[in-house]
């Protein structure tokens, strides 16, 4: 495995993504819009006649967790596109004829799919946390953010969720042959994380640090398994002979 080759592939992917205005605005605008919406929700909650909601903490944790769900959505669509997009542009065959390994190609595409969405999600989360602190400081007399829960969510669980969705997108996009199929597939990958969100909101689980660490551990194990699965299912021969 040559990291330099993967880095070259990642830089190329990021250059292409940067030039596709629809993709770049989707990646950057979505977390920002989300953070503004969440800030408005917090503001409304505070401004209501009953004052701060009894579920204030759970509400903020749930909103923060939503960035984890987005970490499972945004990179998947880029990862799926970067595989299927090569097929659509018919650029995969010349690429596979170069002295690059399957692992280097997958890693390069994964880095490109990971970096930009995660930076955008962290940026959106920062806007949300700063605005929440600004809106709530006078009421609770301390800054709610940052805290351990949000740290684990954003710095541990969100990257793991992004890796999970990228690896699944790579596996599944090798089985589809057009961009629409890739988008449909990638659109389903947030479901496990959404299920955890709903379980948290319904009180079936709590968003405390221990629960989040256990969940992160499970996702990490799944990620490792998916890494080996994605490497073994990326068959250059199958892609060249079966993709039409």
């Amino acid at each position: 495995m040559n990291w330099g080759t993967s880095f070259t592939i990642a830089v190329k992917e990021l250059t292409i993504i940067r030039r596709k205005k629809s993709i770049i605005s989707y990646i950057i605008l979505l977390p920002i819009i989300l953070s503004i919406l969440f800030s408005l929700v917090v503001q409304n909650d505070i401004a209501s006649p009953s004052g701060i909601s009894p579920n204030y903490q759970l509400g903020l944790e749930s909103l923060t967790y939503f960035f984890v769900v987005f970490a499972a959505i945004l990179p998947a669509s880029i990862a799926a596109y970067s595989i299927v997009g090569e097929k659509v542009e018919k650029s995969l065959e010349p690429l596979l004829a170069t002295p690059t390994t399957d692992g280097e190609i997958l890693l390069g595409k994964s880095i490109a799919s990971f970096v930009l969405p995660l930076l955008a999600i962290w940026g959106g989360a920062c806007i949300f946390m700063v605005s929440t602190d600004y809106l709530t400081y006078n009421l609770i007399s301390y800054y709610f953010f940052p805290n351990w829960t949000s740290g684990v969510m954003l710095l541990l669980l969100a990257p793991l969720a992004a890796i999970f969705s990228i690896e699944l997108a790579v596996i599944l996009s090798s089985r589809v042959s057009d961009v629409r199929g890739a988008n449909q597939v990638s659109g389903l990958l947030f479901i496990p994380f959404m299920a955890v969100f709903l379980a948290g909101v319904e009180g079936a689980i709590s968003f405390d640090v221990n629960t989040l660490l256990i969940f992160s551990g499970i996702v990490l194990i799944v990620d490792i398994g998916l890494f080996f699965l994605s490497s073994s299912t990326f068959s250059r021969e199958e892609i060249l002979t079966k993709w039409k």
Binding site: K12, I16, E93, L95, L96, T98, P99
Partner: protein, 304 residues
């Protein structure tokens, strides 16, 4: 340089390439001629280590095709122009070449030098900062060839390099291929363009799943019973026709003042034919070879 022995590839029950044995020498332009589905692309893909072989042997330089540790070494040694140009439309011409130069680990100085050299040779230097997606088909094809040469490979595999190009762009590509031969590059060319194969290939293999024939264009012409000549006379009379019949020639067709005669050995038979006509009192206006007899060879072999 390239050597195969009983190279075979099957897709399920379908035999795409059957017991292919041939050798391509260093500095040679070797053409594979065959109809669609003949196994030309499959053969190139096997030799470029893109797909595996079912059985048989193949070697590129000293490396074994199919040996996992040799695959990367082979791919470093070769350049590949696929039948689809496969450029990144949103990257500029320069960025497309620079990316591949980096993948081939070309040092920065030689990478920049080669990019400029090939873009200038192919007339694309002025367009280096334009997105490849804005290029015409011919320009894209030239850029794809430059991409395959960016690491200065010893062997170049080209799959239908002039397919879908207009005559002028095809001519530019053909001339460039002949320039590469001067640099002692070994070129393996897939085509179904007979004229192209005849013009630029040193040797041609006619493929239809199996290798039907292999040789120089002239050798292949002789395979189907030699070539034809056309003789136009001022007037054709019985004396001339009976003189020609005495020579025991191949099939002869008369079309007004024009005679088309099949000859097996033009070097020996043509002077005898001319002499017989002149002795019989005929006035010859011109003598010329008839059509492309490589086409006859190709059609005969492919239909077998």
């Amino acid at each position: 340089m390239i050597e195969t022995e009983k190279l075979t590839r099957k897709f399920g029950d379908l035999v795409a390439v059957d017991n292919l044995t041939f050798r391509v020498n260093q500095g040679e332009i070797f053409g594979f001629l065959g109809p669609n589905g003949a196994g030309k692309t499959t053969t190139i893909r096997m030799l470029c280590c893109l797909i595996s072989k079912t059985s048989g042997q193949a070697r590129i330089a000293e490396y074994e095709v199919g040996n996992k540790s040799d695959s990367l070494k082979i791919r470093k040694l070769i350049g590949f122009v696929s039948d689809n140009v496969g450029l990144y439309d949103s990257l500029t011409a320069y960025e497309n070449l620079d990316y591949y130069g980096k993948l081939y680990k070309c040092p920065e100085s030689s990478r920049k030098e080669n990019i400029e050299r090939f873009l200038r040779i192919l007339g694309l230097w002025e367009k280096k900062d334009f997105a490849a997606g804005t290029f015409s088909k011919g320009m894209k094809q030239k850029l794809a060839i430059a991409r395959a040469l960016i690491h200065d490979p010893e062997i170049l595999f080209m799959d239908e390099p002039t397919a879908n190009l207009d005559p002028e762009a095809s001519k530019t590509v053909r001339e460039f291929i002949l320039e590469l031969k001067k640099e002692k590059k070994t070129i393996f060319l897939n085509t179904h363009n007979l004229d192209e194969a005849q013009r630029i290939c040193d040797r041609i293999g006619i493929l239809n799943t199996k290798l039907m024939a292999l040789g120089t264009p002239t050798e292949l012409e002789h395979l189907v019973g030699g070539s034809k000549i056309v003789i136009q006379l001022e007037q054709v009379n019985d004396a001339i026709l009976s003189a020609l019949k005495k020579l025991s020639l191949g099939n002869m067709i008369r079309d007004d003042r024009k005679l088309t005669i099949e000859v097996t050995d033009p070097d020996k038979e043509n002077p005898a034919i001319v002499r017989a006509i002149v002795n019989a009192g005929g006035n010859i206006q011109y003598v010329s070879p008839a059509g492309s007899s490589l086409e006859d060879a190709y059609l005969k072999l492919v239909r077998e």
